[in-house]
């Protein structure tokens, strides 16, 4: 249990970042574009650390979730806007999680028409009847699966000089697929839900500003760990799939990247990892969504409430499970594309949420002397403007 006393919000949020959308996006980044996007990953590691730290600081100072703070500062109309933005992004990500579940079972030859309804029901059952915290811990342990990518990354004997160089050498292609994948890469690493989640987490844990230094260190460490994993997923696929020119069309293709390590078992290993990562996301996201919305609008929430007392809370969770599951069940859907595109939605909507966060954290009446330093503001605004610029470029590029 020592493990859990050390890890906190930063590492959990970072770990949950590598969900279904994460694995597939990083795999596609490496398989389709080789090392060309590593510099983006390098930059967004700092952006991730800075934005998550901002979430932690707001939570520690105000002891309120982001939804509640937005309501108190911006009033009801802006809150509605922020909540709809978050809801769309989150429904997209949950759809990716169920697409991940479907893909992982399809590797084993089980059709999504069986796996998705069963897992959706399971998620609901555990959230409603069981223990959210315990389940979260179990899946967190399983998510140590990512270690295989790191080991694999050494076994394939990549050219580390070349890879490290790619981290700092910007390459850009002015094509829609490149920009689309790049926005997904940003949107899967820094997420709207992540901002809400980390803030609620520090509030729930009963932490306050005295824990700031420890939490800051932990958040930075979390950002580093998650992007080290991302780095290895990208080079694993870059030095296997990109070299042989394999285009990822389904989960089986992505699994091939693990072949040097696991041989025949690579399919099983990848399927298991994808399943676990998807389930972790499928638990956390509907819950985080319902918490934020209920807090903002003043409805009763929390798992210690009964259905009768918190209908809207449970209603949101149920809706956030059912709609994405149904979407995934549409016949003939390209699951990998769904996972990638959902992360694009996240990336495109992220600036909106980040602007809210920036407005809050620079408000002296809320944050006192804990407002942002200049450096934090610069990094955050560059992230916001960078994503907006990339989005505009993508739209332009897809027309010409």
């Amino acid at each position: 249990m020592f493990f859990f006393s050390v890890i906190g919000p930063g590492i959990i949020a970072a770990n949950a970042d590598n969900d279904a959308g994460g694995i597939s996006t990083y795999s596609i980044v490496g398989a389709h574009f080789g090392l060309k996007m590593l510099w983006v990953l390098f930059l967004i590691t700092f952006a991730l650390a800075v934005t998550q730290e901002m979430g932690v600081r707001i939570g520690l100072v105000t002891r309120q979730g982001l939804g509640g703070i937005i309501r108190e500062k911006f009033g009801v109309k802006w809150t509605l806007f922020a909540m709809i933005t978050m809801l769309i992004a989150n429904l997209g990500t949950i759809t990716a999680e169920f697409a991940g579940i479907a893909s992982s079972f399809e590797i084993g030859g089980i059709a999504k028409y069986w796996s998705v309804p069963v897992c959706a029901f399971l998620v609901w059952l555990i959230l409603y009847k069981g223990s959210f915290k315990l389940t979260q811990k179990i899946f967190l342990i399983f998510s140590a699966f990512y270690v295989v990518y790191i080991i694999n990354g050494f076994i394939i004997h990549p050219n580390f000089t070349e890879s490290l160089e790619a981290l700092v050498k910007p390459t850009l292609e002015w094509s829609a697929p490149f920009l689309l994948t790049m926005i997904a890469l940003i949107g899967t690493t820094i997420t709207p839900w992540g901002q809400f989640f980390i803030q609620s987490y520090v509030v729930d844990k009963g932490l306050d500003i005295k824990h700031y230094r420890a939490e800051k260190a932990e958040v930075f460490l979390g950002a580093l760990i998650t992007d080290v994993v991302s780095f290895f997923i990208i080079i694993s696929t870059a030095y296997t799939l990109y070299k042989t020119g394999v285009h990822i069309a389904d989960a089986k293709d992505a699994a091939m990247a693990l072949k040097p390590l696991a041989g025949q078992f690579s399919l099983f290993l990848f399927g298991f990892g994808l399943f676990v990562a998807s389930m972790l996301g499928a638990f956390i996201l509907p819950t985080a969504t319902a918490y934020a919305i209920c807090e903002a609008f003043g409805w009763d929430y929390g798992f210690n409430k009964k259905w009768r007392e918190a209908r809207i809370f449970y209603g949101i969770i149920l809706t956030a499970i059912v709609i994405p599951s149904i979407l995934v069940l549409i016949p003939g859907l390209n699951l990998i594309k769904i996972m990638l595109l959902s992360q694009d939605v996240n990336g495109i909507l992220l600036p909106i949420i980040l602007i809210f966060v920036l407005k809050v954290i620079n408000d002296k009446s809320i944050m006192g002397h804990h407002t942002n330093k200049t450096l934090g503001n610069i990094v955050a605004w560059i992230t916001v403007l960078g994503i907006i610029a990339a989005t505009v470029a993508m739209v332009v590029a897809s027309f010409f």
Binding site: R63, R71, E72, L80, K205, G206, F297, D300
Partner: protein, 404 residues
């Protein structure tokens, strides 16, 4: 009658029916004794962005199409009065969290309801419903056709905004069960929670603090600071105090222990602190009633009457010899139905029938002993059967089901 959303951001017309700006806030008197505070004035943002404060007397008509004034705006009105006895509703009430005493929960203010009382426009109630939310968003049709407004009368409401005094309706709050107040407190932010705790008398505050979740208990005490927290902590029962000390970092708990008044048996607290939280020694309380075996029933009952106010509940009375050795127990029921002249020693269940537990026994062992011998509380004994304390069923349950 009208709602705040009907007024907010509406155009303001002056005496000459010229549009002079928009209404941005409404101020009511912040007089705690008033059931329905009157509107004192309105804040108007002029066309050039300057804010004016206009006395409510100058308002000739409040309507959904706008606010009509009896006067014209003048530079004198640019002086916004101090907030000492005014409450600006948009700034401090709307969208903020409040405690709903009737429903015992924390809710958000979606809208405000005004009505004429004795010829003066006054604040009557707070709307916390989804209907109010939709009205604010401008979906008026939807707001009235599917949902009903849920109005809380202003006087039933305990406002916890940071700028406000807390003692509005304190008496109503005290009537609630401490566990309910604790649940409310857990939903508030730290500042508000601290304020809520501060507004209660020390005894109630101590009871509330005992019921609050450990993590929040810890930050609340740290937030209040040792000095202010001391008054409350001092009123807590010993075993709850020990639990709290175990949560706090060493330096802080030492500081608190040192500043506890002499009347408090600090030695006992320190002793309990030596044990782990989930073993008998850590769970136990040192508050229990004892009698001597040679006492009569009448004497024993007299003793209970004298000391019972110090204890939350009394299930068993513990029989000790002159040296503090545990001999057995006698239940309250046996004492009450027995002949007053009988000696306690004739009535009591002896140690063989009701064994104690050792301080290092774990929770499971304690629970087993209690279940096997049907005990609501069990004695904790050292190796020579000296009585150290009791573990009650409450302590065990709290350890088994921590989040209730």
């Amino acid at each position: 009658m009208f709602y705040f959303s009907n007024l907010f951001n509406k155009k303001v017309h002056d005496k000459a029916d010229k549009i002079v700006g928009r209404l941005v806030d409404v101020a009511v008197e912040s007089d705690d004794t008033k059931e329905y505070p009157q509107i004192v004035g309105v804040l108007i943002r002029g066309l050039k962005g300057v804010e004016y404060f206009v006395d409510a007397k100058e308002v000739s008509n409040w309507s959904r199409s706008g606010v009509f004034l009896r006067c014209v705006l003048n530079p004198k009105m640019e002086i916004i009065p101090k907030e000492d006895n005014l409450l600006f509703l948009q700034k401090h009430i709307v969208d903020k969290q409040i405690v709903d005493l009737s429903g015992i929960k924390v809710v958000r203010v979606n809208d405000l309801h005004f009505e004429m009382v004795q010829g003066k426009m006054s604040l009557i109630a707070i709307d916390v419903s989804t209907s109010g939310l939709l009205r604010r968003l401008g979906f008026n049709k939807l707001s009235t056709s599917f949902f009903k407004p849920h109005l809380l009368e202003w006087r039933d409401v305990h406002v916890v905004g940071d700028q406000l005094q807390f003692d509005i309706n304190k008496d109503d709050l005290v009537k609630l069960h401490p566990a309910d107040i604790a649940n409310l407190l857990e939903k508030l932010n730290l500042k508000q929670g601290g304020r809520l705790l501060d507004s209660l008398d020390e005894v109630t505050a101590a009871k509330v603090l005992e019921e609050v979740q450990p993590e929040i208990q810890k930050v609340l005490v740290q937030h209040l600071g040792t000095e202010r927290a001391m008054d409350i902590i001092d009123k807590m029962s010993t075993d709850e105090l020990v639990d709290l000390m175990q949560l706090l970092p060493g330096r802080e708990s030492r500081q608190i222990l040192e500043s506890l008044p002499v009347s408090r048996d600090v030695k006992r607290v320190k002793k309990i602190l030596e044990y782990d939280e989930d073993e008998a020694g850590g769970l136990m309380s040192t508050e229990y009633l004892t009698v001597a075996p040679e006492m009569t029933v009448a004497e024993a009952i007299e003793r209970i009457k004298k000391y019972s106010h110090q204890h939350r509940s009394i299930f068993f009375i513990y029989v000790l010899d002159d040296y503090g050795h545990y001999l057995g127990i006698v239940s309250l029921r046996r004492l009450i139905i027995a002949d007053p002249h009988v000696l306690v020693s004739e009535l009591m269940k002896r140690i063989k029938g009701v064994p104690g537990v050792k301080p290092h026994d774990n929770l499971t062992t304690v629970a087993n002993v209690m279940t096997k011998y049907n005990l609501l509380s069990v004695a904790v004994l050292d190796d020579s059967d000296h009585m150290l304390g009791v573990v009650t069923i409450d302590d065990v349950m709290r350890c088994l089901i921590p989040n209730a």
